[in-house]
């Protein structure tokens, strides 16, 4: 698992990158009440706002961590936004991306580096 400074986790699944938010981020957000997902088959550029998460407190975004194509979204989150709090690093993945070269993930933080960031 790799991590971004924006508290997203990135997991390789075959030739795809799965993206979600970390437990730390979910706790900070509080109870999630609304999730807006991107369209599939959309090309995105690193830094694009691709998802919206609204908690009882505020709205925030998930940014595309890398360039690529959104190939799948987790529609379960639309019906059950609370899943983000219940299982942020498992069932509550947000989207899957196809990227040109999986080695772009090498630049992101590993578990130890991320723990240090939030510690």
């Amino acid at each position: 698992m790799k991590y971004t400074k924006e508290h997203e986790w990135l997991r390789v699944e075959g030739d795809l990158v799965v993206v979600g938010i970390t437990e730390h981020a979910a706790t900070q957000l509080g109870d999630v009440v609304f999730v807006e997902l991107p369209e599939t088959e959309t090309m995105v550029t690193e830094g694009d706002e691709v998802c919206v998460i609204e908690s009882v407190k505020a709205a925030s975004d998930i940014l595309a961590p890398v360039d690529g194509e959104i190939v799948a979204v987790n529609t379960k989150l639309v019906d059950n936004p609370g899943l983000v709090n219940e299982d942020p690093t498992g069932a509550a993945w947000f989207f899957k991306m196809r990227v040109d070269d999986l080695s772009v993930l090498d630049d992101f933080m590993d578990e130890d580096e991320y723990q240090e960031l939030i510690g």
Binding site: G30, D31, V33, F34, E54, V56, K57, A59, G82, N85
Partner: protein
Amino acid sequence: MADLEEPELLRLGLEPLHEELGGKMVPFAGYRMPVQYPDGVLKEHLHTRAAAGLFDVSHMGQVILRPKGSMEDLKRAFEALMPVDVLGLAEGRQRYGLFTNDAGGIQDDLMFTSRGDHLYVVVNAACKAADIAHMVAGMPGAAVEPVTDRALLALQGPGAEAALEALVPGVAALRFMDHRIFGDIWVSRSGYTGEDGFEVSVPEAEAEGFARRLLAQPGVAPIGLGARDSLRLEAGLCLYGHDIDTTTSPVEANLTWAIQKARRAGGARAGGFPGAARILRELAEGPERLRVGLRPEGRAPMREGVELFAPDGTPVGQVTSGGFGPSVNAPISMGYVARAHASIGTQLMGEVRGKRLPVTVTAMPFQPTTYKR
């Protein structure tokens, strides 16, 4: 980052208890306040509606007004600051009040109680200093005494009566907006959640023990500011500085119920309060805009600042409070819209992140109130 240095925050007497309970402390109205406990806003909200929630609202301003002359003169002087009937309020009863300014806007909203030989007033924390100065200046015949040695606790929800009765026998006999003094404990049957419940003023020295005994009662849980906000929003109650402020009149704010007949045109003491010209005119002719309830059709919350449009694209107003209503299980908002678009059922559009989404003008409260009348 020196430029982000926070001003010194005031501390609640119960702060050690909040920290022990796992309260997440944040700055609010100049105080360090618990915004939530480990259960989180959603569960705390639902718990309050299902059982009983204990809120520390000691940041609010408690003030005693004592007459230097007669009680009637004191009440008349207080009436001169508000479009509200003070003389007609019976002893042991509480009433909602509003300080208005000369332009007819709202300087603060408050609760006041007639206690025989004096009045007891509770004002918003952020307005407390200005309110006290306003009363001192406007009521030369009154001794304005800020109460600084008392905590204020709110116990709200269907379990509140039994829990408080166990500690303060006799409170169950109070009805909505009754107030009674039990020894050194002052109890009002009121609150800010739409639920039956109480607001309890306790001497600072006894407050922690009192709060702990309440928390030991079945069903009582500590509730933070986050749930306090979603509870009051579902109840359709205004948050000062957001839904009402110095630019909104009581009529625009749909608070005309707070202006009793005696102060309206043709009443026994009509007018004679700051901003009377505008407020009486709006009562007669209707205001230009009105505070309304709003139900977004989708799941996306429409929060404060969201712009509202008629279906043809004309701007008609703005959301002043909004979020997710845990008990109604849907997004809810309130805001101001031009009067032509303010009737219940009107379809509008709210702009969220550049997209205009449908929203319907709705009656408030969003959640039925359970006051014990």
